[in-house]
């Protein structure tokens, strides 16, 4: 493109460039800061840096609560994602394809975990699970089932949003074409609808995993001694010590999720979906 040469045009171009650069910088800065803090040799998280070391990454591996937390977080996130998808896919199909009274109200209700403070959800879940334990005698708090149940709640709004958006973009005529060719309602869903909303399903699964894996507020209430998710383990560690180990643990967490995204991106184009 031929660009204008007047002073005002040059100034305008410069301002836009500056705003864009500063905006991008502000977005990336915290990540760079964490990465930097994870390799400084200060024994307390502080600046300026006295030197650089990779010891903190080794330190993470020596902390059993981080290792255990990582496993528990992964298991909870995988479980919450699978169960979350299993309930939200049929729910989204009903919400998009059927017209019934209270449809919009239900949509809004399913979005509410995004609006209600997570700490309130955590507290409510805790009280419910304790009540359940008292009534049935089955341990609920601190159990994998309890964690997964709580986290499914967190994944619902993300899944519903992404799946309904994808379904709304799918022309119903294609489903009718399948039916006219002899596909039963079940075959229409498995052979046409689901394959066509695959991008939405993958995006919803990724969001579910990330939301669950990084959640602190709900997990805090559901954790019992010895049953900590990674974010809760990090918080507990912080109560006694502030050293770069937590920065190293965070970097590892970011790296693992980042890797998962890169691998997924090889199979579906993520930038097209979200």
């Amino acid at each position: 493109m031929v660009q204008g040469k007047t002073f005002a045009e040059r100034l305008g171009r410069f301002s836009v460039g500056l705003i864009n650069t500063v905006g991008l910088g502000i977005c990336v800065l915290p990540l760079i800061l964490i990465l930097w803090l994870s390799v400084i040799s200060n024994s307390v998280l502080s600046l300026p840096a006295e030197g650089y070391t990779l010891n903190w990454f080794a330190e993470v591996r020596r902390q059993p609560q981080f290792i255990g937390g990582f496993y528990l977080s992964t298991m909870v996130a995988v479980g919450a994602t699978i169960i979350g998808m299993a309930v939200t896919i049929p729910a989204a199909i009903v919400l998009v394809r059927k017209r019934f009274i209270g449809r919009t109200a239900i949509m809004q209700l399913l979005m509410s975990p995004l609006i209600v403070p997570a700490i309130v959800i955590g507290a409510s879940l805790y009280m419910t699970l304790v009540e359940l334990e008292v009534r049935t005698g089955i341990p609920a708090t601190g159990s994998l089932t309890g964690f997964i149940a709580g986290h499914v709640l967190l994944t619902i709004p993300w899944c519903i949003r992404l799946l309904t958006a994808n379904l709304a973009g799918l022309d119903e005529i294609v489903e009718e074409a399948a039916a006219s060719l002899g596909a039963s309602p079940l075959a229409v869903i498995t052979k046409v609808t689901l394959p066509l909303i695959r991008p939405g399903i993958v995006a919803a699964a990724i969001f579910s995993f990330v939301v669950s894996f990084g959640n602190l507020e709900v997990s805090m209430f559901l954790s019992t001694p010895g049953q900590l998710t990674l974010p809760v383990a990090i918080l507990q560690y912080l109560q006694w010590k502030i050293d770069p180990t937590i920065a190293a643990a965070s970097v590892m967490q970011v790296a693992i999720i980042g890797l998962a995204l890169v691998i997924t991106n090889r199979f579906v184009n993520l930038s097209k979906m979200v």
């Binding site: 022309d171 009718e176 074409a177 039916a179 002899g182 596909a183 039963s184 046409v192 394959p195």
Partner: protein, 351 residues
Amino acid sequence: MATVTIENLRKVYGDFVAVDNMSLEVKDGEFLILLGPSGCGKTTTLRMLAGFVEQNNGRLAIGDRDVTAEPPYRRNIGLVFQNYALFPHLTIFENVAFGLRRRKLPEDEIKLRVREALELVRLGHLEDRYPKQMSGGQQQRVAIARAIAIRPDILLLDEPLSNLDAKLRLQVRDELRALQKKLNITTIMVTHDQDEAMYVGDRLVVMQEGKIQQIGTPVELYNNPANRFVASFIGRTNFVEGEIAKGETFFKAKSGMVIATTPAARGANELVVRPEMIELSAQKTVEANCFEAEITSSVFLGGNIEIVATLPTGDAFTVITTVKHLKDRGLPAETGSRLVLSFSPESAVLM
């Protein structure tokens, strides 16, 4: 291959009557057109036949098989949609094979039938492509192949040519017509385009406001429209208002103009003359229906020319003739020129 019976079909949406007690018999192997403006009920009728819309009342049968209560996937109907509705995630081969796989046919049979169907639409060489890699015309031909591969009892086409550009539309139209005759499959097509309808249809059903206005071959509808709506929807028409009593042979127009007709079978107060039926000449002859007029507009359309000529009585007639015809007779086409209009009493249709 089968006949189609529609009996007292009715569909109401709230206060709106989409299809009003429609009854119709489609013959075996016939190419029938449902024609009408948007909102006339033609698409609703087609969707009821396909089983996507449930009728409030009435009966539907394909051959001897009553399908009134059958879901779409058990009707064995081939459907072609306006926007093709191919499966974007499947190859052309798999698109055509879709219906065959639902029927659990053996793999060899599927291959054979897919190839056969794609050959019929001359797309056999593109079976590995995906729909989005093809042009609109090719996609519509794949959709046709997919519909006929299941060997349906009848074929339903919902405005299949509307999304194609003008040139392609004619080409696919010709192919569709040839294919339908070759397979001799009972076909019902919905369209709002009267040219398309007249070109491909054995019989046309003209609909308006949920009701059938007239059923007939293109020739019958053109020469003997049942009412003003049909006359204006099929081709161009000159209307003259006035009156004629039963048995009379002179139609007295409101303007004072008098038009000779064939003996009226019943009283009528409207008369139509097709623009192509009007002759132009320089001199008044002794024939009936000979009127001096002045050209008030003329539009050059390539081989044809469309002239509007106004009589001293104020009646304006549209005349369509060829440029060659005017030239051969040395007739003018300029606005303001005078000439003589004439038409036979047979061309003046009463309604």
